[in-house]
Structure formats: structure tokens, C-alpha cells
Symmetry: C2
Subunit: 449 residues, 2 copies
Amino acid sequence: MNRILILGAGLSSSTLISYLLDNAKEHNWNVRVGDLSIETAEKKVRNSDNGEAFLFDVQDKEQTYFEVGNADVVVSMLPAFLHYRVAQACVDLKKHMVTASYVSDEIRNLNKAAKEAGIAILNELGVDPGIDHMSAMKEIDHIKADGGEIISFKSSTGGLVAPEYDNNPWNYKFTWNPRNVVLAGQGVSKFIEDGRLKYIPYQRLFERNEKAKVLEAGEFEVYANRDSLAYREAYGLKDIRTMLRGTMRRPGFIEAWNIFVQLGMTDDTYKIKIEEGTTWADYIRCFLEENDEFTIQENLCAYLGVDIHSKIMDKLRWLGVFSNKLITLKEGSPAEILQSLLSEKWKLEEDDKDMIVMQHEFIYTKEKETHKTISSLVVEGENQIHTAMSITVGMPVAIAVKKLMLNEFTMTGVHIPTHPDMYLPILAELAEHGIKFVEDRFVILSSDS
Amino acid sequence: MNRILILGAGLSSSTLISYLLDNAKEHNWNVRVGDLSIETAEKKVRNSDNGEAFLFDVQDKEQTYFEVGNADVVVSMLPAFLHYRVAQACVDLKKHMVTASYVSDEIRNLNKAAKEAGIAILNELGVDPGIDHMSAMKEIDHIKADGGEIISFKSSTGGLVAPEYDNNPWNYKFTWNPRNVVLAGQGVSKFIEDGRLKYIPYQRLFERNEKAKVLEAGEFEVYANRDSLAYREAYGLKDIRTMLRGTMRRPGFIEAWNIFVQLGMTDDTYKIKIEEGTTWADYIRCFLEENDEFTIQENLCAYLGVDIHSKIMDKLRWLGVFSNKLITLKEGSPAEILQSLLSEKWKLEEDDKDMIVMQHEFIYTKEKETHKTISSLVVEGENQIHTAMSITVGMPVAIAVKKLMLNEFTMTGVHIPTHPDMYLPILAELAEHGIKFVEDRFVILSSDS
């Protein structure tokens, strides 16, 4: 096998493509990189002898089957809803496939066909999902093998600006898809706490957060991710009493973000037409009660019970939502209109670096003692191309591709990396590249106490 | 013309069918009533010489075309999403059609075809929408003709239990589709206040309510309905400064209902499995923060900032949501689970009567004076069959059918009753049947003041 096909050459593919090109000469690989923009593909391939860039459109079924047919391992870095088209071609043409995305039901249903075709469809091999699964499962399997019973598992991840470049009052810049950040948490968040199922609606999500401290990266706050319950089965923790997955932000971010949620300014279900000359001050009044006796800021503070001198209000003022700055969009959902402002104010500057933080907390009992293990990861970006996000998404995918190419991975069917056959070799190589968890282990209750 | 076809014989068709059968002998009409349940259709037709009940399934296209083909005027009282099938048959077979439902875009697009076919498709001829349009437009056209300029229009409607049968702390019983009541207000509510567009998200909707007093029916509170903005065009009030449509409840209902909204207990986007033996006390804890030091009631009060001795908590306790009462559903969305409790507690008893209240408030300027007109309607149900809802939904539909049968309505195309050609004769006959608005007119600011 010597032909690798990569579909989608956006920001998240940078490190993936570099890694495979760097390994290509030794193994005599050919790396074909397809994208809807030929320039994007060419920029990633550079002038590597082992790489080829080409114009690719997954809507063109003939081209998809032609390219997949010529490959040995296919990586889809396309938007998640397009993976299925590629997966279908991989099954039909008996080619392995790797993605960094959540397995959809459609793809899960290809399991039998993939097994019959003798191919592997490996998913959730990015950072979250990906590195989170692998690092958690390694510790879970270790605790179980050691005779421990896990009673609580909490895990959270954040994509943030690196501390040296963190210079705005929100302590946040967009290091990933801004739209996902604006819409985060919509719907219900489900988790389990002390044996009791918990359902938090969107409007309460950002009022309920926990504190966390991660190595040298410092202090964070965590809000719950959508569905923590599904992981009980995936992680073999069916009877666990507490399980929560969350998103990390710097302290103070979440309570300020909650203002936009409470006002309805993150709604994406309807469109607003913006008349020419509409300022942010005009716009924000649409979400407040009409009151001529108060300024807009006073009005907001009275409406939501916020102190006008609070850090929450400092953050809002810094964004300019009470200012005479004009809104640039002509029409959009409230979420889109807010995103248009944030994209400007939370922009990662050219010399800024980003950071990924991840932390798992396991509590388990063993021989009448209660133990706690905290497992933490901090990865900083190298530059604007090899961002922490691109590194942590791309490296596990790249390593999985290499293992398939070298016949070191021999599984067939649809998988996520929760089995030691996958997570052990991938984590080992990630550690060689500096993507390494640090464990702190405590006894929090001994039989004597 | 002597053949009337009524499709759908549910609760809301009772008064409609009675009225048409009562008029049938005089005009030599035949009234055919079709329903998926032949018993339901037969019960409504009774043994009238001029009526026929039959088994009808709108999914059966052949039957639909056969029945429509044999009719002169067709009334669809089917669920709203099914009207289009009937409308298409009416256009193809050149038959008039009447509904009590909001015009869908699909049906609006039949306007040209209906005109070419020489038929009328008359919609929004129930109570809300229906009587609200007609009574508002009569006053709007009157004010305009009199030289007034309308600057504010507020209108609200409530379907409630009649005062003599109002004996629970919510002052509410289900007089209509319970599901719609539980889901009311989801999405955004839009209105205009003093020239400024206002958007209220669901999670704030029930905190923002206005007071109203309606004739002998007493005190109410009003929360905003979904889209008040669309009515500016429909009512010819393009430049109006304030326009708000709302729903009326008895004082105290809205603030208590808001507790369910805040907890996420009205969410209809996901399902919860209820384990056997789960009590309401167990269930409500899923929506609270875990706290062993408080009782569930204390926990809820702390979480949402409510006084444990408040009327809000009295209402919740009366429902039994803190009790050891078992949940009967095995699986459902939070909205469905809540509805299962409310359907029992807010049941209209056999001898109870319902009530419809409607009130419009117009503010207009004329010759340097500012005027206010309040136009109010109270209708009580006669019994469990001819409920206020059935009367106010069925009468305008029935009158429109009669006018079409007698060739007194000669319009073609798709209409709602905002034109005097429709609203004047219908309101006149409604008044004869005691469905009559009472107007109070004030000068609130004169040129001298």
C-alpha cells in the first residue's frame, strides 16, 4: 500500500498533511490532497515530491469513486455531514477510511458492510473527540485492571488563546469555528451526578459551572457539554454514579456569555433584517424592555440583575455592544449578528498562538480506599499553521493512517479509539511528539479515616 | 347549490355542524360529515334528515376527490397540515372551501389557481385566528374612515374555565389542545413597542407580562404571542408604533408556569425514559442542582430565587410535583411528561363550562386628541359539546359556509376575513347569536391638556 488520499485541506488538515508528507519518503507513499480550492490544497502540499494537490468536489460522485478507487487509505477532513458519501465509496471499493469526527448513525450502520469488505472505518480520531477518548480509556482500563471501581468521571476540554497572547477581558479568542462557539450548548445538556440523571436547559447552562486548575495553564471554569450519558456505554462505565463532560473557559467568561444567552442574542432560529445605520446600541435595545428613564446599560442591569460596575459589564462594554458602532450585516439570525462582532473582537492575531487544555478527573474505590486521579494535557500551537487545534486534531488521524498503511492496524468495521489496540500505539507516538498527559494521583479517603 | 361537505368531526366541529343542520331544512341542504371515526361523525350528525355521516380518510386521494367532487362547499376541520390536500382537490374540481386555520404558504400560493377556477378559499374563520381579525378590522376601518391615525394596537385572547367552575389555584383548566398549551411560546416572540422591534426569547417570555381587565370576566395577565409583526401588513397598519398580540391567563398563572420553563420541563426536543417507580419528586430533582442539605422544595426555591411560601410554590405543590405520586408515562419528552400530569389536574370536569375572552386596545390620534378604544368579548360555553371554543370557532365558519351556499359571498381566490365584505355580515350574524363585542371609548389626551 502506498497511496494516501486526503479529502479536505482546511486549517485542521495542516499538521496531518505535514506529518504524512514528512513520513512519505521513507515509506514510498504518495499523498494526494483534494480540496474545493486548488490553492488551499497546493498550499498544504507545498512542493513535496511525494504529494499532489488536486481540485476535488465530493458532490461529484464519479470523481469521488475514481479517487477512492486509486487510494489505499482515505482520510475525510470534509464537513462531518459529507463523510458518509466517502464512507460509502470506501465500502464499495474496499478502502480503509479515517475521520476526526463523531460517528454518525449512518456510518455506524456501515459496520457490517465494512467488515465484509475487510476494511476499517476509524472515527473520532481528533482531539475532542479523539485524544479525550484515548487518554480516558487508558486510565479507565488501568484502574479496572488494578481492581479499582470507578465511581466518578469528569472530563473537559478547552480551545483557547495561549496565556502569553491572552490580552482581552474575555480571556478568549476564536481558535476554531466561531459559529460552533456561538451556538454551543443549545438544546439540553445531560449528565449524571451521584446516581441521578440531570438535565440542564440552555437558559440555565451557563449559570452552572465548576472550577478547574490545569498544570501551568492556570484556572478555568467548566460548563457541561450536551450528552455526557452516552459515554457511559462507550467507556464501559455503565453503573458509574457521576459522569460529566464539559468545555473549559477562563474564569468570568461563562457568566458574561450568559448575558447573550439570556437576552436571546444567540438564537439561530429566525432572521432579523438590519436597517442601514443601525448601531449596536440600537440593536441591543430590541432584546430589552423599553424604558426611557434608564440608559441602555442601566436597563440591561435592571432586567438581568447585574451590577453595572461588574466584570460582566466590563466585558460587554469592551465588545462595544452599547456603542454607536454600526452593525455590518444586512440580515442574519441573532447568532450570526453576534458572531459578526465577535469575529472581529475575538480574532486570533497573526502572531498569536492558541492552546488546547484537557483534563480528566477519575474517582475510584479500591480495597476500601477512595482514590482520585487527575490527568491533564496542555498543548500550545507552534504558529498560525500548526495551531494547537491543528496539531491535536491532525496527529492522531495521521498516526492512525500510518498504522493502517503499515498494516499495524488490522481491525475491520467501524471503530472509535476506545480499545487498547488503537489507543496504546497512538498515545505512545503522541507522547513522542510532546502530546503527553500528566497524572496526579491522590488517596482522598482511606479505610482508617 | 345544496351539498355541504364537512371533513373532520372533532370537538371543534360540534357547533359548526349543528348550525348547518339547523339551517339545512329551510335551504334544502345536504350536510355530509366525514371523519376517520364513523362514530364521531355519527354523533355529530345525530339522526338529522339533512345529514349523513361517513368514514373518511384524507390520505385516500380517490375518496377525497370523489367527495369533494360531489359537494358545493367544502369545510376542512382536519389538522391544519392536511388542509392543502383538500384545497388542491377544491381547486381541481372548482369547489369553494372554508377553514378555521392560519393560511399556510402552500395554500396562499393557490390564490391564482383558485381565482381562475372561480372559487373562494376562505381561511382563518375561527376565533383566533378569525373573530380577532374581524372585530379588529371593523374598528380599524372605522377609526381610519373617521380620520384617526392608529398608533398602538394590542390584542389578546384566552381560552379558560368559566368563573363559576374556576376552582384550582392555577385558575386554569384545559379547554383546548393541552399539547399546544404546554409548548406555547417556544421560539421567539416578536412585537413592536414605541417604534422599536422587540424580540423576547422563550426563557424570558413569561417574566414579561401585562395586566388586563375584561368586562365582568375580571382580571387577567397577558404574555406575548409569537409573531405580532406580520399583522402590521395584514391589518393595513404598516407604520404603527406599537403592536402586540398576546395570550390571556388569570393573574399568577404566568409567573408559576415560568418555573417549568426555567427548569426545562417544557422541552419537547428530547426523550426521557422513566424507570418504574419514579415519583414526581424524583423526576423534578433531575432539573435541579444536586444538594443534600436542602429539601427538594428548598432546593428549587434557592435555584430559581422563589419564596417557599409564595403563591407560585402553592401552585406547584397543588400539582403534586414534589410528591411521591408515580409518573405514569414510560417514556416521553419533558413536555409530554408534564402534560401527562396537567391533563389530569387541569381536566375540565363533566359539568364545567369554558370561556373565551378577547380584548383589543386601540390608541389613535385625531384632530390633536389622543383616543383609546377598548373592545371586549366574553363568551361562555353552553355545555361540554357546545363549548365556548366550539361556538366561537364553529360559528364564523358556519356563517361563511351559509353565505357561500346562498351566493351572498362572491369573492374568488384565497382570503382571510380582513375585508368588510366578509367581516361585516359575519360579525352581524355573530352578534345575533350573542357573540358581541362591547366597546369603551375614551379621550386620553386632549389638545387643551
